[in-house]
Structure formats: C-alpha cells, structure tokens
C-alpha cells in the first residue's frame, strides 16, 4: 500500500514571502531616485560610477565565492546593492579604477572574508569608501559642480569643493546659499548623497514597505539636529545650524541606507534607535572638530563596532517571573 509521497517539514507551513533578494531589490528601487538625480546633475561621472561599481561588486563577489568554494549567491542582490551604495557615495570625479578598487575592497574586505552576507561586522560600503578616502584623498576630493540637464553631459565638469569643506574656511559664504537648492541636490557631493528630497522619498518608501524601521533614521536625524542646534545657539559664528548639516554631506543618505543595513546594525528597536543617535552625534562631532569634512561614514563604522553591545539591550522576555506570589 504505497500512497503518494507527502512533504514533511517542521511548522510553520506557510511563509510571508519576504526573501533576501526582495529586500535588496526594494532597497535598490528606493535608491533609484537619488541615482537619477545624480546622473542629471553630474552626467557621465555619475553613469561611470554606477556602471563600474555595480558590475565590479557583483563580479568580485562571484569570484570570491568561487575561490572560497562557496555557493555563488550574487543573485540575492546584496553585492549589487553594495555596488550601488558605493557608486552613490563616491564623488563623480573619481577615476573608473578608483571606483572599481573601492567596490573590490568593499566586497572582499568588507563582506566576503567574514563569510558573506550577515557575518560582516562592518558595513561593506562604508569600508570601501573609507579605504578609498584614506588611500587616495586627492582623487576622493574630485567633486563636480552640479550642471543641470543636458549640460552635465555636454560640458566638461568643473571641480568644486563640497559645502562641508567650504564651511570650514568661511561660514558667511554658505549663509547666502538658499537651503532649497541644497534640498533638491544642487550642490557638490557624492553622486547620490546630494539630493535630500530623493533620499527622503526612497527612505519613506522603505519604511512604508516595512523593509526598514523608522528607529535608526529618526534617531540619526534627531540627534544630529539637537547637537547642531545646541552648538549653533552657543556660537553661530563657528558652528553651522541643523538646516545646513542635514542638507549637506551623507548624513541623510546614511541614516536611511547605511544605519538600516540589515547585518551590521542592532536588531532590537531600542538598539536601532541608539545606533541612529550615535551615528548622528558622531557625524556632527567629526564635522565640527574632526579631520575630515564629512565624518558620517566613519560614524557608521564606529557604530557598527558597538552593535554587539547595543544588541544586549533587549526587551523583557515574556514569563520571566522569579516567584509568583
């Protein structure tokens, strides 16, 4: 009496349908507006960043997994996402080999040597960016002045300093610059970092879809706001206020896309919030007193380092009762 073979497995027997590749593709979709704006303002420089970083990241991951004799998992989209993040963080003037080197470093040193997705303690994209900016500070300063529309493709780019570097010399110049131009991305900066509007759009999409929780971004933005507000009210001559610091550099980009990275940040709500607060505070600290104009990626890396500690802050477990009276 043989009947048809039945599947046997442990419960649950249904699944919500969320997969790694779906999470990654949703995040990439959320980055699309920022990428489009980057291409619009920076032309070929941005296109080169995107194409080289994504292709090299995927190739590096496949090669690395081949060498380590592991299952090739580039289809889950995580390598492509790291490439995309890097492309958006790098300045448009970085030569193609620099972009490629950064992507290889991010994948190999940032992710694969630890054992792949989820085992890396540090955000691979932040690792790639930091290695490049420490090793090649001159190339990593090749920011373009924004040129709208066709001009960015037709005219040769003009190298310009990012507002965060400008502000170190003279605060008065930035006060005359309208904030809404910063908001729509009309400033020098990393390809995808400049347009705060596009980043907010993508971030809100991710929160609405449940891909990320609001805790880390809100924590980061709030703590940066409070910090800058405090310093600005003490001495407005030296310290720029929150509207400037939130709209320039990579703070909003990091708040939505790096501090919410799945593997390298805390898992509990409290931990996420604290990680966000720490990134925001550290960023402003480095911007005001540190050696780099924009410290946000260092802040992300430092926060990643204390993630295991933040993960120890956990909610009270149900039923943890010593003695019932």
């Amino acid at each position: 009496m043989t009947s048809r073979r039945l599947h046997v497995s442990m419960s649950p027997h249904v699944h919500g349908g969320v997969t790694v590749s779906r999470l990654m593709s949703q995040t990439m979709l959320a980055l699309a507006p920022a990428a489009v704006v980057g291409i619009y303002y920076f032309g070929w420089g941005a296109v080169k960043n995107l194409v080289v970083a994504v292709l090299v990241a995927v190739a590096a991951e496949a090669a690395m997994q081949r060498i380590m004799k592991r299952r090739i998992s580039v289809c889950d989209g995580h390598a492509a996402l790291i490439g995309l993040l890097l492309a958006l963080m790098f300045p448009p003037g970085l030569p193609w080999w620099g972009v490629a080197l950064g992507a290889v470093v991010a994948i190999v040193l940032g992710k694969q040597i630890y054992g792949g997705l989820g085992n890396n303690p540090f955000n691979p994209a932040a690792v790639g960016w930091i290695v490049m900016s420490v090793a090649y500070p001159n190339y990593m300063a090749l920011y373009y002045a924004p040129q709208a529309g066709g001009a960015s493709f037709l005219q040769s780019p003009i190298i310009e300093q990012i507002p965060l570097t400008v502000v170190r010399g003279d605060l008065s110049e930035l006060l005359s610059y309208p904030w809404w131009k910063l908001f729509i991305g009309y400033q020098a900066g990393g390809v995808g970092e400049v347009c705060i509007a596009a980043l907010l759009l993508g971030g809100i999409y991710l929160i609405a879809k449940g891909v990320i929780s609001w805790h880390a971004p809100v924590g980061a933005i709030l703590s940066a706001t409070v910090f800058t507000l405090l310093c600005n009210s003490i001495n407005p001559e030296v310290f720029a206020g929150p509207s400037f610091h939130l709209l320039t550099g990579g703070l909003v980009f990091s708040a939505f896309f790096l501090v919410t990275d799945k593997g390298t940040t805390p898992v509990t709500r409290q931990g996420k919030l604290l990680a966000g607060v720490m990134v925001g505070a550290l960023t402003i600290l480095i911007r005001y007193w540190g050696g780099y104009p924009d410290g946000v990626f260092f802040a992300v890396l430092l926060t990643n380092a204390i993630t295991p500690l933040l993960d120890r802050i956990r909610p009270a477990v149900y039923g943890r009762v010593k003695k019932v009276a």
């Binding site: 039945l6 046997v8 593997g263 509990t268 993960d311």
Partner: protein, 450 residues
C-alpha cells in the same frame, strides 16, 4: 473598552467569508484509537483482539489522574491492538475497531437537565469519566485543569494532584489559535446557550468570581451573539486579531496584563484559568448527557476546498477517510498538516488518525507547498520584531544550529511557545521552529543526564 496590554505579533491573511456551519462527517469504516491521545503518558488497552465493543465503552485506561480515559468511538469488533503512527511522527499502541455501521452506544444514564447545580466533586467525576482533552499546547485533560480548590487536601494527595492555586477569573477562549481555523468562532455562533451553561458549571467548579469571554475584536458576529450574556460577572473581551492572540500565554497577558511564568507555568499560576469554547462544549455533553468524548470538531481547509469546512468527526478516523468523505483525492495533495498552517504537524502517511488533540486539518496542493532552501541568518531582525515572547530568535536559532545550547537556554529558549512567526517572516527562509525544538530537546536530554 479599556486599553489592553499589547504584544508583538502579526496580522495574517485569512480565507474570506466565514461562517462555516458545523457538519457531521459520515461514520468511518474503521477507527484507530491511539493510546496516547495527549502528551504526558500512554493508556493501557483494556480490550483485546476479537472483542465486541459499543460506542462509548472504555478501551484505554490508566491509573494516573492526569491521563484521560479513552472510549470506543464506533461500535464494532476490535480487529487489532498494534503500533500505529501518531500525528507527531511516532508509533504508539492503538486499538483498531472495525465499525459495524450501527453506532450502538453503551447505556448512558438519563440526561441531567439540572447539571448546572452539580456539586463540584460529582462534576469532576463526570468530566474525568468522559476523558475530555482540551486543545492546547501542551494539551491537558479537562478534569486536570478544573479541579475544584475546595476538595480536601487528602483527596488531592490520593489522586496525585499538585497543590492548587486559587482561580479568581475564568477566561473562556473563543479566539481561534491560528488563522484559517474556525472551530471556536464557529461553535460560539451556533451554540451560545449551551456554552453559557457549561461555563457556569466550570466557573462554580474552580470557584472563579469572574468570567471573561475572550472573542476576537474583529469577530463582530460573535460579539453580537454574546452581547446579551455579558452581564453579572460575565465580561466580553475583545482580543486582538493579530496572531498569536489565541494562544494561552498571550491571551492571559491581553486580558490581565500578567504573564504566565514560563517555561513550566500554567495560567492557573496567575490566578486565571483559560479554557477554550470547544472543550467547554464537550464538557456540557459530558455533564448533561454523560457522554464520553467520542468526536472532535475540526476545521478542514486547503487543497480543493474553496472555503474552510467545520466537521464533527469521530476520534480515530484515519485522515484518508476524512478526505474521502470530502471527496478530496489524496494524490493531489502535497502536504497534509494536523493543525493549522503555523502550528501544525506535517504527516508522512494518510493512515494517521484524528486524535483528541486535533483541531484542524490543513491541506496543501503540490503547488501550494512552501519549499525553501535555508540560508545563513543575516541578522535582519525581522523575527525580533514579531516574537510575541520578546525573544531574539535570530540569536537563539544560531545558538541551536551550532550546538551552543547553554547560551540558548540563557537566552530564554525554553520560553519559546513555537508560534512559528519567526519562520513565517524569515527572509533567509530558516527553519526557525525546527532549531528551537532541536535546542529544547537537547537541553532536556542534558538535564536528565543522557
């Protein structure tokens, strides 16, 4: 309605348009009565091959107080006493009865219409002889749960009941334990009068001052039907419709804000007693009609059924016969699950019989089976956001995976109620419940020193 304590959970999709009538399945040709009808122990068969039995006759017994008696669920001939597969994948002794299709009952005393005035000790006696087992995790015989507190200590000692906590509130659970299971809601809608009587008896037995009828807040039909009864010590409580609202620890928390001391505690430790409505209905039959538990209300859903069906089936009916009575072809099935989609046990054979613990049958077609290849955990924290016990399932699953059971225990692995939500949301498709159970069994094995 006052604000109830919240818990983490998830709204899960359900089949639409539900008010399933309770249908009675045709008598099976044969029943397989497993001697282990609930976790805790195995009964001794008291019949042997060739015996003639009547419906309601005792076929399995135990000296222990905490084991429910087992009765023949059809009349006929005992064709064998042998090992049979049970829903958890083990083989246990079973009495197999070939039905004579007459369904002749043993002689029962006259129905007692005044059962609501029964003395506690007599009520306990009737319940014990009926061998009723509640639905639960773990399932416990009803009479063990509702032992009256006023019974003398010597009596308790003799029958081997631990010292009892006083119960001040009886929670009647009409929230179905899983999505797409409709027995509690179905019963509530169709038999509210009988239920209320049964609840009164149970309340007297345990000496509770208050009764809380917990229904799902979105189940407007039940709320309307029960509204008139909500007075004089009866309180209607709208429980969350998030899964796992209907599981005992979560329900107690919602109603009272108190937590059951896990892993070994029961709701009685908090002064609350949770009883599901289906068991209360069985209790009514036992108290009034002196009827032992021979059938079970189950929801069948999935496969070619477009809507869930509520069936009253005889205990011991093999799944094959249940499917046959619904004209579902077994060779279209990919997975047969005892229980709902989140808590159930998948079966390897269709010979497994319905037991007193069974409350649902979930069927999946070959296409509907969720196939997965697990990946490494990447710490996304999706499970942490849904765990109703506030565990860190990501960490626990890795501890169990790599044999670090002590660390898992320190992370409160034993508090896990195996609701399955962590596995449901996991993007890496990890078999979370599998890891949890593995870890628990290893910890248990180490404790006894294996």
């Amino acid at each position: 309605m006052k604000k109830r304590p919240s818990f983490q959970g998830l709204h899960l999709p359900e089949a639409p348009g539900l008010d399933p009538k309770i249908e009675t399945a045709p008598l099976p040709k044969k029943v397989v009565l497993l001697m282990e009808q609930h976790p805790g122990g195995i009964c001794e068969p008291v019949v042997s091959k060739g015996d003639q039995v009547k419906t309601g006759q005792v076929v399995g017994k135990s000296d222990r107080f905490d084991l429910a008696d087992l009765h023949a669920t059809v009349s006929g001939t005992v064709s064998d006493v042998t090992l049979q597969p049970d829903p958890r994948g083990n083989k246990v002794p079973a009495v197999i009865i070939e039905s004579d299709d007459r369904d002749e009952w043993v002689e029962l005393p006259e129905p007692d219409e005044h059962f609501a005035q029964l003395k506690a000790e007599e009520a306990l006696n009737r319940l014990r002889h009926a061998g009723i087992v509640e639905i639960g995790n773990p399932a416990v015989p009803l009479h063990v749960k509702v032992v009256p507190p006023e019974l003398p200590d010597t009596y308790l000692f003799l029958v081997g009941i631990p010292v009892l906590k006083k119960v001040h509130t009886l929670i009647i659970n009409a929230v179905d334990s899983e999505p797409n299971v409709f027995i509690r809601r179905g019963l509530l809608r169709h038999h509210p009068d009988d239920l209320i009587k049964g609840i009164r008896v149970l309340r007297t037995m345990v000496g509770a001052e208050k009764v809380v009828l917990a229904v799902s807040e979105t189940d407007q039909l039940s709320i309307d039907r029960l509204g008139p009864y909500a007075k004089a010590g009866f309180e209607l409580f709208g429980a969350s419709d998030k899964y796992p609202s209907g599981l005992e620890p979560i329900l107690v928390k919602q109603v009272s804000g108190k937590e059951i001391p896990l892993p070994d505690g029961t709701s009685r430790d908090t002064g609350y007693l949770v009883q599901d409505v289906v068991t209360v209905m069985n209790a009514v039959e036992a108290l009034r009609d002196h009827k032992p538990q021979v059938d079970k209300l189950i929801t069948v859903f999935g496969s070619s059924l477009s809507r869930p069906k509520n069936l009253r089936v005889r205990i011991g009916t093999p799944v094959r016969d249940v499917l046959g009575s619904l004209s579902i072809k077994p060779d279209t099935l990919g997975k047969v699950i005892f229980g709902g989609p989140l808590l159930g046990y998948a079966q390897y054979t269709l010979d497994v019989p319905i037991t007193k613990e069974t409350y649902a049958l979930t069927l999946q077609n070959e296409k509907g089976v969720h196939e997965f290849s697990p990946n490494a955990c990447f710490n996304c924290g999706a499970c942490v956001d849904v765990c109703p016990i506030n565990l860190l399932p990501n960490e626990l699953s890795r501890f169990c995976e790599f044999g670090r059971f002590e660390q898992a225990e320190n992370g409160f692995l034993l508090h896990c109620i195996e609701c399955g939500l962590c596995g449901y949301v996991c993007p890496a498709a990890r078999p979370m419940v599998h890891f949890m159970r593995y870890g628990k069994s290893e910890i248990a094995a180490r404790k006894v020193g294996v």
